[in-house]
Symmetry: C2
Subunit: 470 residues, 2 copies
């Protein structure tokens, strides 16, 4: 076969294609090539789309081609959604046409049975021989919201994903738009990538791509296996020196690892070895699925702290004590504020200038509560004894303070210290509204006290490894 | 003084009073006696309310009395919201009038300064001498939703709390209705109690009361200190033999403990000693603030498991592997299903009868997806190799399966195994709606995969200590 000879290319064609071919099922439904095309059109993809299927003439107003061979343009990226057995043939045709990137959504490979293992090996071999890069098989694919590139193979129920600084990647489709409510978020993502079975492109390739992606400030990954331990160590070490890498790895336990191996068809790694690798390379290890989406916010939207000294502003002592306990896990300390700050706070309300700045007591008695709140927050955030701030917001029974809170936060934008917020109150709608509004301003809000503290704690630890922390 | 002599009474008058006096500030605003009275009226309290304040004649249509001495009825419960210095005098007058229960909302006691410590000692002495029981000071008080008894001193923004089986108690007002959205919940609570500074009534008194409260199936507590270690051990051991007791204790770290002592005025306990006490007495220890409200749901609304064998139904392998890892922390194992079940599942879709029942693959290809889902769920839940079930629900892009999911769950009501659910999907409104509807049916939904597994895991461990687990 006369493949166009080329060396293995990077991942740019996946994330920034001008032309895309969608090869396979175009049946209307909630899964398949039809959904991919609709998603691309809805998200405002500016490039050209070429559906490929011998049984159709037209779909969504686009001409359909019987084969990739007759598509009249050079194609940057193909998406393949066909039966497992036809994938290799299609990949060869694509390589012959000079396609350099293929996302194989099709399943039924190493995760299914012995035949699938063989088919997947064939694909890997094609990638090796032709230089075509393959994401998958068994993947929900990638997204680049800033380009309107959301070629999602499952119906997602919304059209746009807010573009931002966080790259979310995983060895599962649980991070793709059909599974996670990106449309309802108020922070933005730079890239989404489901590795699938990793027959070619793996976590290291993606990390290397994101390392040099100016849109990405923080990288978060869910992994079940590592394809090449030595390379992983080398690459992650280099990448973490530039941007934070946060990893949730499952298959920690023996049974988990065994089951993981059976569903992705890949070998799991001894968890202790992985843990040591994380420590060595500066990876931040996550502990729950939700943290994948929450923890990177502190890195993407706030400055790194200059040290480990945490300031706490709360409405009750209990939250402060919980925060101190949690902070200790990450070597955060809660210092006495400087004498000047304490004096100023005590002048606002007697006893306010403590280690935990508890605005509950003044709140119950002061009439114009919000004016002192503003003063308190400003005073604490600029205190030279404090490197990061955990701020608690009580929404009130009718969200009456929302506008004023926002005004106060806008005034904090010049402060070069990270602020993690936790919003609570008696009504869910106001909690949600306040959270959205603050995140629109670039101030991350965490769904739990402990997660807010972990965010500040890992930011402090990360800053230290980078030498930016005293 | 001629106190009505009596031995120390239990806490019934706090939670089931026929007559309440509200003593102190009646000023309109978002805090104080006025709010208490409005909350009682709005929540439908059926007893009589007697406001006491020398400066008013009438409030909310109720006659106001200048002093507790002239209130024309025997009073079961008083709420005191006055300056700290006048509390003792009022308590004495109440005791003389035969009042047996007083909630002291007022602050400025041991949590503030030396004078406050003295004032609080005086109160404790009055309780000891007269037999009047005191909750507080520095408390947001109690609630008993089934009686419309929500005497909340802070504006809460809603009127009712759903009555149910969970008692939530804490050494902080963070669990009271102004701080937590009970009005938006779809599970119910039996009692709420903020201990405040614990000058008299403490965690042991409340546990003993709840031990014999037929409305309470599970007890959850936030504590910063233990008043009497020996008694705590004895009482908690007895109570956990009847109902589960879940405790979040802060002040775990040295700094946390020190700060805790300063804001509640009580001595903190070495965390290792507390941890040992929990193990000895069968207390379930919580790790985050949110768990206080979430974890008891499994005990209150589901049967205890008969063993530690977990069944997992999910849409992706990744969630299954995460669940297995998490389950291992609580000695949950995920067994092979019985041969009959596996055969039945494989007949529905080839390869379905695995350790993790992954309905992702059939879902992408089967047309009438919901009919097989129903079959799968029923088949797995009745499998004799399974003691508890983690079920994952994907809401879909437009919540289209909601009604069918609910129908299927209704059909599960006879199965005497606990089911913990996790709902995810691409749109927040459908996730929320599905969650509410399922909880209305009595099936707890957890906000995180890991929390759902922890709920099942602790239920299994608790059942084992009760001898109900193989």
């Amino acid at each position: 076969m006369a493949y166009i000879s080329q060396k293995r290319t990077g991942l740019a064609p996946f994330f920034n294609p001008k032309t895309i071919a969608v090869i396979g099922s175009l049946k209307e439904g909630f899964f398949g090539g039809y959904v991919v095309i609709k998603s691309l059109l809805n998200a405002g993809f500016k490039g050209e789309i070429f559906p490929v299927n011998p049984s159709y003439k037209e779909i969504c107003g686009l001409a359909v081609y019987p084969s990739i061979k007759v598509v009249p343009r050079r194609i940057d990226l193909v998406l393949i959604i066909t039966g497992a057995r036809s994938v290799s043939g299609i990949l060869k045709e694509c390589a012959e046409r000079g396609v350099r990137a293929a996302t194989v959504v099709s399943d039924g490979f190493a995760e299914r049975d012995e035949e699938g293992v063989k088919l997947q090996r064939e694909m890997a071999e094609i990638a090796r021989q032709t230089g075509i890069r393959i994401i998958g098989p068994n993947t929900a694919g990638i997204a680049n919201p800033s380009k309107g590139l959301i070629p999602n193979p499952y119906e997602m129920g919304y059209e746009k994903v807010k573009a931002g600084n966080i790259a979310i990647c995983a060895q599962t489709g649980m991070i793709n738009p059909q599974a996670f409510p990106y449309g309802d978020l108020h922070y933005g993502v730079s890239k989404i990538c489901d590795f699938g079975n990793k027959c070619d492109v793996d976590e290291c390739d993606v990390m290397e791509y994101l390392e040099n992606d100016p849109a990405t400030k923080a990288i978060t990954l869910y992994l079940e296996s590592i394809k090449d331990g030595q390379r992983f160590l080398k690459v992650s070490k280099r990448v973490t020196s530039k941007k934070p890498v946060l990893i949730l790895k499952s298959g920690r336990t023996e049974q988990g690892a065994r089951v993981s191996a059976s569903h992705t068809g890949s070998l799991a790694l001894d968890d202790r070895i992985f843990d040591a690798a994380c420590k060595q390379s500066g990876i931040i290890r996550l502990e729950s699925f939700r943290e994948l989406f929450e923890l990177p916010k502190i890195f993407a939207y706030q400055p790194l702290p200059k040290g480990n000294r945490l300031g706490i502003i709360t409405f009750t002592g209990a939250v402060g004590v919980l925060a101190i306990d949690e902070g200790a896990k990450y070597d955060l300390t809660v210092p006495l504020l400087s004498p000047g700050t304490r004096k100023k706070l005590d002048a606002i309300f007697p006893g306010l200038g403590k280690r935990i700045v508890d605005i509950g007591p003044p709140m119950a008695v002061v009439n114009d509560y919000m004016s002192i709140y503003s003063e308190i927050l400003k005073t604490v955030t600029v205190d030279p004894c404090i490197d990061s701030i955990f701020n608690v917001i009580w929404t009130g029974p009718s969200g009456e303070f929302m506008e004023e809170y926002l005004k106060i936060y806008r005034g904090l934008e010049g402060i070069r210290k990270p602020i993690a917020s936790w919003v609570y109150g008696p009504r869910v709608p106001y909690i949600n509204e306040m959270t959205c509004q603050l995140e629109d301003l670039g101030f991350p809000v965490f769904p739990e006290i402990e997660m807010a503290i972990k965010a500040l704690g890992t930011a402090s630890q990360y800053a230290k490894t980078k030498g930016g922390n005293r």
